[in-house]
């Protein structure tokens, strides 16, 4: 999973949403239910709650729109882009927009709720039998008033259950007429209209007057789509006309002829060649529930995942029995579930920590005691026996004061331990206290402070929760917990590929994740499970734009990320903007 730059998220758990308008494709109750279920997907795995508002400003404002719909990201007609949403924040942030040039369904074709009739508003059942004939869509057969209807069971002849299908002859959506039906013909700007029209609107929505004269009464509403309404095109949702003529040939069904994209279309008059009126044919449509659940993931702070089965994967695919993928759960819980330290965590990783070694005379690089393996311990059992190497109990004694950090042009690694900066080079390290004016301490020997480590350290980090120190050198790593050490272990055990020859930087991300850098890639390590997360590696410059891709030290210091190359650093703020490029020597070492 991926979160947005700076881990954007809501600062409150009671998130509000408001549905600003509805698609003509679905009954409002079906839409309301789809959105409610989409929010439940996330509230089921977090402490978040979602409350619907009916007026005012909500955190998540939901709307349907077509093409240019008021932000900088226009939709593109049928198919292609389905929807988009903004990460949490004020204004447009957090809002979700759905492309109303799509055919919105629940993923398996038209969802047609009935009105009136004798089926209590049940959904149409397609196909159904009427008069011995099978119907796959609403029909006006059998009715003199031309109102489309359907059976709500598979056999009307047997069950007699029916209702009327959405139609502008029954009701309108939105507008200012409280759902009144269209009145045909009606007058608009002096012209007479016999059907719904998009005239007078830039957004492409079909509307009608609900009195005989719009110019006079100004009463209107939007026309619902039906399962025989065409989508997109230029026929304002008129149904297909079969047969229709196209390039001199007659068609009795929808065709993809004439199009390079394979989409099915039809003429809405007897001759496309003469009238040029057309629209796309209704298909399975897109599940509003699935797309909404994905978009709400964005609205809560999740970016796209590269796990194909995850909900946050950018492409749409229909799944019948949806359940949230582990990757999505981890992502949303990373943002919203307070971290709870697992029971006995402190004892899990370090055999040595279970014993309380008596202080001994320090013998650098010579193990003095060995811990007894504990049967309860399950981690780190596949490598050389962990050793318990007591380090000096007092601070490390300064060595050669002539070794001048200010003359080092390239450190092996730079890291932050206990808030202080540590600079490592060729068996020595320097500490620069977080207190701004404190002088750089004289160089000290790595072997004295951390006897198990080699002279060259490629990377290091302190786990902020457990205060354990992780050191990387070549393809090995060591973990220090106070005086106790575990390692060396192979970095392959963490899940890094064998092509990684060294880890060049480590960046704490959240409480239990650390990004490990090597070459132009980085991986995310779950410190708790000691495994690399799925979906990695990623390219450094895709996520961290504007920094050298050959940085050899990466670390987090005072809330900012530093990428070092030679004597220079690139500093990046929490919004991942490079806000300073400077010298390690002057700005960090204060030489």
């Amino acid at each position: 999973y991926k979160t947005f730059d700076g881990d954007l998220k809501w600062d409150h758990g009671d998130v509000t949403y408001r549905i600003l308008n509805y698609s003509p494709d679905l009954d409002s109750s079906v839409t309301d239910d789809a959105f409610a279920r989409a929010f439940k997907v996330w509230s089921d795995v977090t402490p978040l709650t979602f409350t619907r508002l009916f007026d005012g400003t909500a955190d998540i404002m939901i709307s349907f729109g077509k093409k240019d719909h008021g932000d900088l990201y226009p939709f593109d007609g049928k198919d292609g882009l389905l929807a988009h949403a903004y990460p949490p924040g004020e204004g447009i942030q957090g809002d979700a927009h759905f492309d109303d040039d799509e055919f919105w369904t629940l993923g398996k074709g038209p969802v047609v709720k009935t009105y009136y009739g004798n089926a209590d508003g049940a959904m149409c059942h397609f196909p159904f039998v009427f008069g011995g004939k099978t119907y796959t869509s609403c029909t006006i057969e059998g009715r003199a008033d031309k109102l489309p209807w359907c059976s709500t069971t598979d056999d009307y002849d047997r069950d007699g259950k029916y209702g009327f299908c959405p139609s502008e002859l029954l009701y309108t959506i939105g507008g200012n007429s409280d759902g009144a039906k269209c009145v045909f013909p009606f007058v608009f700007l002096g012209d007479e209209y016999d059907s719904c029209t998009t005239e007078g609107r830039r957004d492409g929505y079909r509307w009608c007057a609900t009195t005989s004269n719009y110019d006079q009464d100004k009463k209107y509403g939007f026309c619902p789509n039906t399962d025989i309404t065409t989508i997109g095109g230029n026929a304002e949702g008129e149904p297909c006309h079969f047969p229709f003529e196209f390039l001199g040939k007659e068609y009795d069904s929808c065709t993809s002829e004439g199009r390079g994209d394979g989409k099915l279309w039809c003429g809405t008059t007897a001759s496309y060649d003469d009238d040029k009126k057309w629209g796309f044919c209704p298909d399975q449509g897109y599940s509003l529930f699935l797309v909404a659940a994905h978009e709400f993931g964005h609205a809560l702070g999740l970016d796209h995942s590269n796990i194909r089965d995850a909900l946050m994967y950018p492409m749409y695919s229909y799944v019948e029995d949806f359940s949230l993928h582990e990757d999505d759960i981890e992502g949303i819980q990373y943002l919203y579930v307070p971290f709870v330290l697992p029971k006995n965590t402190d004892m899990c990783f370090f055999l040595g920590s279970k014993t309380d070694p008596k202080p001994t005379v320090p013998q650098p690089n010579t193990p003095t005691t060995t811990a007894t393996p504990d049967p309860d311990v399950t981690d780190f059992t596949d490598e050389p026996e962990p050793t318990n190497r007591p380090a000096t109990t007092t601070s490390t004694s300064p060595l050669d004061p002539t070794k001048d950090a200010c003359k080092v042009t390239k450190f092996d690694t730079i890291t932050v331990i206990g808030g202080d900066l540590y600079f490592f080079k060729d068996g020595h390290f320097w500490r620069k206290s977080k207190k701004g004016d404190a002088a750089l301490e004289s160089p000290m020997l790595i072997s004295e402070r951390w006897p198990a480590l080699p002279a060259v350290i490629d990377s290091a980090f302190e786990d902020i929760l457990t205060k354990r120190l992780y050191f990387f050198s070549g393809t090995k790593f060591w973990v220090y917990n106070g005086k106790n050490v575990l390692g060396p272990r192979s970095i392959e055990k963490l899940g890094l590929p064998d092509s990684v020859q060294k880890v060049e930087g480590a960046l704490q991300k959240g409480k239990d994740k650390v990004l490990l850098f090597s070459g132009e890639n980085f991986w995310r390590l779950d410190v708790k499970t000691q495994k690399i997360d799925k979906g990695y590696p990623k390219y450094i410059d895709v996520v961290f734009g504007g920094v050298p891709i050959d940085a050899h030290d990466v670390f987090l210091y005072e809330g900012r990320t530093f990428f070092c190359r030679d004597q220079f650093y690139w500093r990046m703020n929490s919004r991942r903007q490079v806000d300073r490029v400077g010298y390690v020597k002057y700005d960090l070492l204060k030489c």
Binding site: Y73, D76, A83, N234, R308, P314, M315, G546, V547, I549
Partner: protein
């Protein structure tokens, strides 16, 4: 009788999606979803090419990283999807 049917593509009035060449489609896709912008904003890449952008896109979408506009990549670009860019700008 064995002459293959010759498809005639027409421009449908009001159609938002025009018939695009594969290359145009790829370029538009890579730009729209952030894969191309990455190159423009950073001065450190030496291989600032469509091929590398394609590789990144292929990695993100779990495709074979060929760096080529192959069939599977082209098909992926034609799939319905979310409009949020894959690579943050």
């Amino acid at each position: 009788w064995s002459v293959p049917l010759k498809s005639v593509f027409v421009t449908f009035p009001g159609d938002v999606i025009k018939n695009m060449s594969d290359t145009d489609l790829a370029e538009s896709y890579l730009k729209k979803f952030g894969y191309m912008d990455t190159f423009q904003r950073s001065g450190f890449q030496s291989l600032a090419s469509t091929s590398k952008a394609l590789k990144r896109m292929q990695r993100q979408l779990g495709l074979d990283e060929t760096g080529q506009l192959d069939m599977q990549t082209l098909e992926a670009m034609k799939q319905p999807r979310c409009g949020v860019p894959d690579v943050a700008n």
